[in-house]
């Protein structure tokens, strides 16, 4: 049985539908991410799970127990849900010491004093804050403050941990470090993670499964690699990783890049119509050395002009022009590529097709 279950969950703010008929099951011990641009409804969904927002329609249950339901007119307030939660802005209480911050949820639960001391110590140890017990949060760095928030959330040993963009206030290096720490904590304590982020690399690195959302509607649910390799639609493809969308004209299943006089053509799926997008990742376009042979190969090699070439450290980023299209290509630095302004031949190795709208 799924631990967390959402059925037709809908939330409206005035006329705006923030979350539209969301259905989801999260298994026990899973690390599940909500990914999407800001305003897509991911945070609203998390806040409904936490109980800060009631849902307008649908039902939410945890371990088979109903937490919010529009059918049964039931709503369990957040203080009775026994979740752990970490917020983007840390939300550690500046007037309490690190120890008191972490002890707070335990004191609320009227746990005996010596037991509180034991559990706070354990939580602080797990987050590497042992030596900070008596400090006030204002004196600590952002990373340490977020560790307090984590320690406070794990202190009650929750079954489900809700993380609302917990790393986006940290600098890049610390962010990467903390990702692993969160994973380690999960292994140690075995809680289920619901993780909200707009950073796809973070979601990829952390999640067992993830959900991509836009305009309150679920676009795709699946394993990170599955979503990367088989994006369900144009939005998912463009949101996850870098992407090229090349306008093509199609005639009888043969697609030619818009504005190019190339004779070479791609095999296009038949249902697309006359105009469509050919989509590909910049890393999956190759420069081909062999003499230009044109139409006879599949996928076809095509002629392009290098409009721009930029070094990004280990990677070289090219922009090449074909007809009216500009295609971005990324290659490792060790790959010999053409110079800016020169003509070259490229081959798109993996193609995806999307209708114009």
């Amino acid at each position: 049985m799924a631990q967390l279950k959402l059925v037709d969950v809908t939330k409206k703010f005035g006329d705006v539908i923030a979350v539209n008929k969301l259905n989801l099951e999260v298994e026990k011990g899973e690390c599940f991410s909500f990914l999407g641009p800001s305003g897509c409804g991911k945070t609203t969904t998390l806040r409904m799970i936490a109980g800060f927002e009631d849902l307008d329609e649908g039902e939410l249950s945890v371990d088979g127990k109903v937490f919010s339901s529009s059918f049964k007119k039931y709503y369990l307030p957040p203080e009775h849900r026994d979740f752990g939660m970490v917020f983007q802005a840390f939300a550690v209480w500046p007037h309490l010491t690190v120890y008191d911050n972490v002890a707070f949820p335990l004191q609320i639960r009227k746990i005996p004093r010596h037991e509180i001391a034991k559990r706070v110590k354990m939580a602080l140890q797990s987050t590497g804050l042992t030596h900070r017990e008596e400090s006030y949060p204002g004196k600590l760095s952002g990373g340490e403050q977020q560790r307090i928030a984590l320690a406070r959330a794990i202190a009650i040993n929750p079954k489900v941990m809700l993380l609302d963009e917990p790393l986006s206030n940290l600098d890049a290096k610390l962010r990467e470090e903390m990702r692993f720490e969160i994973k380690d904590l999960q292994k140690k304590f075995g809680f289920t993670i619901i993780y909200v982020t707009h950073d796809q690399a973070e979601a990829m690195a952390l999640s067992d499964r993830m959900l991509v959302m836009d305009h309150g509607i679920v676009q795709q649910v699946g394993h990170p690699l599955e979503i990367y390799n088989k994006p369900a639609n144009k939005f998912v493809f463009s949101f996850i990783g870098l992407s090229n969308f090349i306008p093509v004209n199609i005639e009888e299943g043969k697609a030619v890049i818009d504005g190019s006089n190339e004779t070479a053509s791609f095999e296009a799926p038949l249902e697309l119509g006359k105009k469509a997008f050919l989509a590909c990742r910049p890393s999956e376009v190759d420069f081909v050395e062999e003499p230009y042979t044109g139409a006879n190969q599949l996928p076809p090699a095509i002629r392009a002009r290098v409009a721009r070439r930029t070094y990004l450290g280990d990677i070289v980023d090219y922009k090449v022009a074909v007809g009216n299209a500009e295609i971005r290509i990324q290659k490792p630095r060790r790959v010999q590529g053409p110079i800016e302004g020169s003509l070259c031949t490229i081959r798109i190795n993996r193609t995806l097709w999307y209708p114009l709208e």
Binding site: R81, D82, W93, P94
Partner: protein
């Protein structure tokens, strides 16, 4: 690059700025201390002890403390409660209520006191008479001419200080601070007690200290409600001594000693506030704007709304209406019936020399002082914020000094400085009030201008210099246009309070130099209640109009600012 020429311009500006503050602020304060501590060139602690142990002055000191403490307590409770109601509950009409709770700021407290005296004085108060008639009482049930009455009336008009501070910090507080307590298992009551209240405590205390500072040195309300029954606080005692002795030096000396106590208390309060702001003010402001947690009032919703509206009605509308009605009475004491009313009183305000003079004096003195103080404040702020010259710490010190100077103290200092001691005698001329206003409001100007100057990045001026503009051209074309809104709001911040000023003017006026505040006070003292009320009504019309204009203007500024930031 610093050429010798530029350095000297900077130094001239610095010296000129210091000179202004020394003449306007420092000399009067020093003279007060000297007069207080030295007699005939000798340090005189015995004289001070004698004055302080005099039961008359001792009682005034004690009263000042009691009134300030009581007012602070009541204002803080009322202000915090209404702030919470507006910021953190589902009270209906919240936006309107928030605006309404700031209206008491507009009503000068001495005019409020005048209205309440008309309503609740034990002898002839209209409400008292009404209650006596209804319940057949032989004695007036409520006596406003008491220390309790003074505290109640001061609190009515001072609580917005606390309301503003607390409401602001409750509204800007990061809601996740409370949400994380909630997800930790705490209920709303526990969260309020253990998280919310401690986090807004610095704001509550800051508001409370502002009230204490104001009330301690406040003249208007105790003067109108207390003196009749012999209740004096420090400012009214100083006034009484100087007035009774016809401005004798001995009375002024007593005044300086009491002033010294005021200055020291004010300095202590400000120091305390500074410490609180530095150490206690937590970073609780949210990055993301999210709706804060709101408590559902359920059945209490409508009763609390009614209480709030009643509160505004009783503290603002009732006194305002009373003032206008009394101003229209043919004779004071008549009942408010149409046959007893006349427009003549209002028309006559513009015909009587005394009231006509008062309106005219107040208008040009406050306009002039606002303009001069705004310009001087801009220059001084520029030196403090932008210029790299040695010796500007003197300016920083002198610039904050006026904050801790109560109006009474400034008046005494100005008397000591400008009564011929240095060859210039401004006594009994409007100029002495003008100088006093500049001293009193310089702090406002420096604060407002410094705030807007520090938002103008140095690089903007440097970019203009890099384009070939001279220092002066950069100032004129870049800096001044950017800080103009700050300058204009400084102007209004001075003009509006100066228009209704009483505490300072009452010690400085001469036969032809009464201001509106002084004229209302004097008319009331002379038993001309109707005339006082009529003049007060006209003052209220001017003040409301001014406030409305400035609010519209500031709202437009805010919108413009948002646009720039976007």
């Amino acid at each position: 690059m610093n050429t010798g020429n530029k350095l000297s311009t900077a130094n001239i500006v610095l010296l000129f700025s210091i000179l202004i503050l020394v003449v306007i602020v420092a000399v009067p304060v020093i003279l007060i201390f000297i007069t207080a501590f030295f007699e005939n060139g000798k340090f005189n602690i015995a004289g001070i002890a004698k004055i302080l142990s005099d039961p008359d002055t001792y009682q005034a000191l004690l009263n000042s403390l009691i009134i300030a403490a009581g007012t602070t307590l009541v204002s803080t409770t009322v202000g915090t409660f209404f702030a919470w109601l507006v910021a953190r509950t589902d009270l209906p009409l919240k936006k309107t209520m928030k605006a309404l709770f700031l209206v008491p700021f507009m009503l000068p407290s001495f005019i409020g006191a005048l209205a309440w005296k008309v309503l609740l004085s034990p002898r002839a108060g209209y409400i008292n008479k009404l209650l006596m008639a209804i319940f057949g009482l032989s004695k007036a049930p409520i006596d406003i001419l008491t220390i309790g009455g003074i505290i109640a009336i001061e609190s009515m008009y001072l609580f917005p200080f606390v309301f503003l501070q607390v409401e602001g910090s409750l509204e800007r507080m990061d809601p996740t601070l409370e949400e994380s307590a909630r997800i930790s298992g705490a209920n709303l009551f526990t969260i309020t007690r253990k998280i919310t209240l401690p986090l807004v405590m610095p704001s509550i205390l800051a508001g409370a200290l502002l009230v204490a500072l104001y009330s301690l040195a406040h003249f208007g309300v105790p003067a109108i409600l207390g003196t009749e029954k012999g209740i004096y606080n420090i400012p009214t005692k100083i006034y009484e001594r100087i007035y009774a002795s016809g401005g004798s030096f001995n009375a002024i000396r007593v005044g300086t000693i009491l002033s010294t106590i005021l200055v020291i208390s004010a300095a202590l309060i400000l120091k305390l506030q500074d410490m609180l702001l530095k150490k206690g003010q937590y970073q609780i402001i949210a990055g993301k704007s999210m709706r804060p947690m709101v408590m559902k009032l359920r059945g209490l919703k409508i009763p609390l709304l009614i209480i709030s509206i009643l509160y505004i009605g009783i503290t603002v509308i009732l006194p305002t209406v009373t003032i206008f009605l009394v101003g229209g009475l043919k004779t004071y004491g008549l009942s408010f019936e149409l046959k007893n009313m006349t427009w003549n009183n209002y028309l006559k305000i513009f015909q009587w020399k005394m009231t006509k003079d008062a309106i005219w004096n107040s208008l040009y003195l406050s306009l002039g002082a606002a303009f001069v103080t705004m310009l001087a404040g801009t220059m001084i702020s520029y030196v403090i914020v932008k210029m790299k010259v040695r010796g500007k710490f003197i300016l920083q010190f002198l610039g904050v000094l006026p904050f801790s100077l109560p109006g009474t103290v400034i008046a005494l200092g100005v008397i000591l400085t400008w009564s011929g001691r240095f060859g210039i005698n401004l006594y009994n001329t409007p100029w002495i009030i003008f100088v006093a206003y500049i001293a009193r409001y310089m702090a406002f100007s420096i604060k407002s201008n410094s705030a807007s100057l520090s938002q103008v990045s140095d690089s903007l001026e440097e970019a203009s210099r890099a384009c070939g503009a001279t220092h002066w051209q950069s100032l004129k074309n870049i800096v001044i246009p950017l800080i103009k809104p700050g300058m204009i709001s400084a102007f209004f911040l001075i003009f509006l309070p100066a228009l209704r000023e009483l505490t300072t003017s009452v010690l400085l006026y001469g036969p032809t130099t009464r201001t509106i505040g002084v004229a209302i006070y004097a008319l009331n003292e002379d038993g001309e209640t109707v005339r006082a009320a009529a003049l007060a009504s006209i003052a209220l019309v001017i003040i409301f109009a001014g406030e409305t204009i400035i609010r519209k203007f500031l709202a437009r500024l805010d919108q413009a600012k948002v646009k720039v930031q976007e």
